[in-house]
Assembly symmetry: C2
Homo-oligomer: 331 residues x 2
Amino acid sequence: MTLAEIAKRAGVSSAVVSRIINGDKTLRVSAETRARVEAIVRDVNYAPNVAAQTLRSSKSGTIAFVVHDVANPVYGEILRGAQEEAERQHKALILGDAAAGNASNSRLAQLIGGGGVDGLILQAAGLQSDNLILRAAHEKVPVVQLQADLGMGDHLIQLPDAKAAAVATRHLRDLGHRRIGCLATAKGLTFTEDRLRGWRAVMGADADPDLIAHCGPRAVEGEAAFKALLDRQPGMTGLVCFNVISAIGALRVARARDIAVPGDLSIVSIHDVKFAQDLWAPLCVVRMPLAEMGQAAIRTVCGGDAKTPTRTTIAADPELVIRNSTAPPRS
Amino acid sequence: MTLAEIAKRAGVSSAVVSRIINGDKTLRVSAETRARVEAIVRDVNYAPNVAAQTLRSSKSGTIAFVVHDVANPVYGEILRGAQEEAERQHKALILGDAAAGNASNSRLAQLIGGGGVDGLILQAAGLQSDNLILRAAHEKVPVVQLQADLGMGDHLIQLPDAKAAAVATRHLRDLGHRRIGCLATAKGLTFTEDRLRGWRAVMGADADPDLIAHCGPRAVEGEAAFKALLDRQPGMTGLVCFNVISAIGALRVARARDIAVPGDLSIVSIHDVKFAQDLWAPLCVVRMPLAEMGQAAIRTVCGGDAKTPTRTTIAADPELVIRNSTAPPRS
DNA sequence: ATGTTTTGGTAAAACGTATTACCATGTGCT
DNA sequence: AGCACATGGTAATACGTTTTACCAAAACAT
């Protein structure tokens, strides 16, 4: 059912129908005509063709949201916040998963390049598909990067990452730990470097670079990195993990090697997830407002002003959630 | 940059450009002209306007995927499978979260009603927003429902749910359990009823309806339902959970009440998740191919034939993954 | 009776693409 | 010379909406 058909039924021009539907205040029309049109619109359950609207207005009412692993609960939380705010702004989210398949979201890239989305939110991971998507969007559509700045002059939203790492490390220091390992995320990413700064600041003179291990976001990578770290730092009594998934990897290794947590090793992770308390060792974490970041991303994308890139840091203080994975070092 | 602009630069009509880009075999054009056009297209990094294409072709290249909780790892897995297959089919996924906000995906509903998507995949949960979305899509676009049939004559994809529940229950019976509780999902949903049938079939004469408790998909609901069940069935030694999240709820209650798992209570859950082995008690589960279901959903949506609804059951046998949450009953 | 304003609309263009039908011109054949 | 046919394209239209500019008729004022 199109505007024209409705117009024909009502015996008016399609302009009238369109203007009534869109509440055009400058339209003067008799009460009867208005009622007649409205009745028909309701009757046939008219739904305007979105492609035509998009073509006319250059606004699609959709936003691309690209993460690198939908199944990761941390991104799920960001996504939830974004979804809620998108609903408020009357936008729909198109989901991109940089890790899905080896290809690079080909249709999504077309949508981005071809005016099919009003903006792009990218949680980058340093994959080259990130750069592909980014290039497609650049200068065409507002782009918001989450947590990591790939240096293309886009909007950036950050969490208080340095502070979060500092809080985690401080907690272990306060318990008396001195050899505190750092199971970090991929080198070079903005939030990785920020968190490393936080860890170093608290460690002070104890900030031995050899205590740092980097790994990807999958549990098996976390396991491998932690094994290596443990082998070269047997005296380590505390561990700060930048990624809750890698923390799970560390827990697996600890359990396999009969390392008591928190007896022999205290672990703090960054980012809370729903089931952290249900793990083999209830995981002590530093919580940051992930959903709020998703929300802020949508706001920034919708807030126009594509020209002047903004850097936003979510204001809330990182919150230490103490659970039974930390304790003073043995003797 | 539009077709027309490129055409002007190349000194041809836009028809030629369009037909070159789309590989029209019936187009006869000189090699030089073709090369010239292709060079310009490459040069300006031409990206066709998707709204115009959609308007012209009535194909948007997007599919709506609606779940009720993005953050639930089980849906994450389905989504991953769907995403991969969508990439293969060159489609983008528009994500709907029935639970996000109290509103009901207003823009998504418009997209669905207005030709903005080529199909809808719905993981229903019995919310009324499900019906809203479904009505918007009905008769306009192919609809695939996952696991639960809301009875609108759409395509349906199912897992071997009865068998899965039977496998779980059988495992406990084989260990010697007789009083086996059933922490089920919401009443009336197709997969709930299927799984109940599986449980009943194995329980035989022991299938006391009082052993069944229903609960929603959140951990706190699982906790409450399990508490009630435990209070009225103190002799229960085994538990089958239809939802891994409710299983986590049960584990919480067990830990709080000093009920040993698997010593005092054996638990089997339906659906495996990445961290099941990392829980307080490594959770024994029945695994079904969730990603494959997501994949099948995309295939069905893209497979045309919107007219004749199909029922597909994923063929693979449910796989029992034994972990340390089950044991023979105490004496 | 003529000029002005209000009422109640309408006509037309534009957004960018894909496709169908058509058409000059040149070339080869007889 | 006259005809057919291949070559290398082009013109026009439709998809459905929104918006601007305009306009006839009626009401009102003088």
